[in-house]
């Protein structure tokens, strides 16, 4: 499978800047769940920078709108009444559905939930879509969940054992295309693979086996508690604009599988 071209990349990362909240339209800022607003903000920033309109959506998310699930259960367990709005938002693909609605994207709409490997899965799946689904909006989004942070002392937080991750939050949005003019950065990925040692080199080897070896700089695995780590590395790599081929590895302790994204600038 050939690489896809990156027409643009934007992000909304609360840790880095909070201007994104001011960019939200009133109807979204008003009542939408936080995870939706981050995905929206990153997408809005992306679409401001390019004229092409996305025709499909692939979202990668580790935990989805878990906070909304918790809110629904709180209502249920406290008073016996769960809020319908919380339930709708808590379905994993609600972000992708909301993006389609807000930006009128009526083509294929997929949501991948592979933990820390979610962006890799989203890119891998994007590559399977038909030509008329391009350009494709690919968004990685995850939010910090206060409940998990509260439970952190009790959760297995090293990557040797399974964990319900926590940490960084934000959204990274990419517009991917096929058959584009040359000179654009390229990206491709392998879907999660259950390999033994989850070292960056092992992840890179999985990529090399699928696509053929290429001289590349392998990024560190990063904090594998963070679902957003791979997406942030991809964003940083594109931002630095340093030429070269970079491999961003990822590992999901929950599924015990690793994946890799290759970015060529």
């Amino acid at each position: 499978m050939s690489a896809l071209h990156i027409r643009g990349c934007s992000a909304a990362i609360p840790g880095a800047d909070n201007a994104w909240q001011d960019e939200l339209p009133a109807h979204i800022k008003r009542r939408d769940p936080r995870i939706w607003t981050m995905a929206y903000a990153a997408t809005a920033r992306l679409l401001k920078t390019i004229s092409e309109k996305p025709r499909s959506v692939c979202v990668g998310t580790g935990l989805g709108a878990l906070d909304e699930t918790k809110n629904f259960l709180d209502g249920l367990f406290k008073d016996g009444f769960g809020s319908p709005r919380n339930f709708i938002a808590s379905v994993h693909n609600s972000m992708a559905g909301k993006l389609a609605l807000e930006f009128s994207i009526d083509g294929p709409n997929l949501t991948m939930c592979d933990g820390q490997n979610s962006l890799a899965s989203a890119i891998a799946l994007c590559g399977l879509l038909p030509d008329n689904a391009f350009p494709c909006l690919v968004v990685a989004v995850d939010e910090a969940i206060p409940l998990l942070q509260e439970l952190a002392p009790h959760l297995s937080i090293d990557c040797q054992t399974r964990t319900a991750g926590m940490g960084e939050e934000g959204a990274v949005a990419l517009l991917l295309d096929r058959n584009s003019p040359s000179g654009l950065p390229a990206i491709r990925a392998v879907a999660p693979t259950p390999v033994g040692p989850h070292t960056p080199e092992a992840c890179a080897a999985v990529l090399a086996e699928s696509f053929g070896a290429r001289a590349a700089t392998v990024r560190p695995l990063g904090d594998c508690r963070s679902f957003l780590s791979a997406a942030l590395q991809v964003h940083a790599t594109l931002g630095s604009a340093r030429p070269g081929t970079f491999i961003v590895p990822s590992y999901s302790p929950s599924s015990m599988a690793c994946a890799a994204i290759e970015v060529t600038v």
Binding site: F72, D74, F87, G97, G115, L151, A164, P194, S255
Partner: protein
């Protein structure tokens, strides 16, 4: 193919129930729903679990996966991938933990174990390891996921990522989904009535199904005759509303048309439609509107939601399994739960009909206006 549902374990058990148009729903007994009365649901009885599955969803998935893979007598170094579809994941276990934790903070000490399989991908990873599969992707697009998984499996095989790919959809019943759907007024506690004029909502169910998709070469190597071809897959978004479908089924029309186009069949070639048919007032009406727009003359159609319940992410594959079996046997099943026509729809589901079917259309529509359609074909 493999399946497990309220009608029983195995494709055959489900087939028998579907072909007879049986009503297999029973009042919810797996757990207390907190609703006025236990709603009628498709519950799996006596789930045997030989894989020490950490969650009910995984136990269901393994049952279906094992049946589907049993056709592979010798893997001969073939790589088999996995596309896993689930909405619930480990929620049926996580919600119990959370309920306990809310009243007793000491419960936190159990967090690591109880939440280890919360994520959807934890289920995929487990199934992947249990069956020695080569790699996986985990999809979660609510009710349409199952069919997207089948389409994705097809693409992965076509593009050479794997020699064969198992598409598995699994969802266990959970308090979250039962109460969630109830809060949206989408449940008919007395049992769903697809396409009926008195329909008032759907009935939830649990189950799992698996389809092993392989290239011709891999099929020959495996030594199994293909049951049917996945000839077309279409996907689209309504861009209309987060839970209600577009009234004219515009998005659905696109997905259906795309599936037909890829399958290279004309509407007239479709022998039957295995509908999404959830029996909500909105879905049935807009699904028929979409079918009318694409077909003009709508082929005979049926819904199995009263027989099996709406199994969410599993439904696309589970119902596709029975659609393929129906096509193989030349049977259009009756629709359990249907009694009175709806004048606003103007069409009624088919009675039991024996007729050759060469191509069958399956629809699956999910929350967020997510549409999936697939065409399955018998080889000549």
């Amino acid at each position: 193919m493999g399946a497990i549902c309220t009608a029983g374990s195995g494709v055959r058990a489900g087939c028998d129930a579907v072909f007879q148009g049986k009503d297999c729903l029973t009042p919810l007994s797996l757990f207390e729903s907190g609703l006025k009365a236990p709603p009628l649901c498709g519950q799996v009885a006596g789930l045997s679990d030989e894989f020490a599955s950490p969650t009910r969803t995984i136990a269901l998935a393994c049952s279906a996966a094992r049946e589907a893979l049993s056709v592979v007598k010798n893997r001969r170094g073939l790589s088999i991938g996995l596309v896993f579809a689930t909405t619930v994941g480990g929620i049926s276990r996580s919600e119990l933990f959370y309920r306990a934790y809310r009243t007793d903070p000491e419960t936190a000490s159990r967090a690591a174990g109880e939440l280890a399989f919360h994520e959807p991908c934890a289920a995929s990873g487990f199934v992947c390891r249990a069956f020695g599969l080569a790699g996986f992707v985990t999809l979660s697009t609510a009710c349409s996921t199952g069919l997207h998984a089948v389409g994705t499996a097809k693409r992965l095989v076509e593009q050479g990522a794997f020699d064969a790919c198992l598409a598995v959809g699994a969802d266990a019943l959970a308090l979250l989904t039962i109460r969630g759907f109830a809060s949206l007024m989408l449940i008919d506690p007395t049992g769903c009535k697809p396409f009926d004029g008195r329909r008032a909502g759907t009935s939830l169910g649990e189950g799992a199904a698996a389809m092993l998709v392989a290239s011709e070469k891999a099929s020959a190597a495996i030594g199994a005759l293909p049951l049917a071809r996945v000839s077309g897959w279409g996907a689209s978004a309504d861009c209309h509303h987060m839970t209600a479908p577009h009234p004219e089924g515009l998005g659905a029309q696109k997905a259906i048309a795309a599936a037909l186009a890829e399958a290279e069949v004309s509407p007239a070639d479709i022998g039957a439609v295995a509908t999404h048919g959830t029996a909500t007032p909105d879905n049935d009406r807009s699904e028929i509107a979409a079918l009318r727009a694409v077909f003009g003359r709508v082929p005979p159609f049926f819904s199995v939601k009263r027989t099996l319940g709406h199994t969410l992410a599993a439904s696309g594959i589970l119902e596709a399994v029975f659609a393929v079996r129906a096509m193989q046997d030349g049977i259009i099943p009756p629709t359990a739960g249907f009694e009175q026509a709806d004048p606003a729809i103007g069409l009624v589901p088919s009675n039991l009909l024996r007729t050759p079917i060469r191509h069958i259309l399956k629809n699956s529509f999910g929350f967020g206006g997510n549409n999936a359609s697939a065409v399955f074909s018998l080889d000549a």
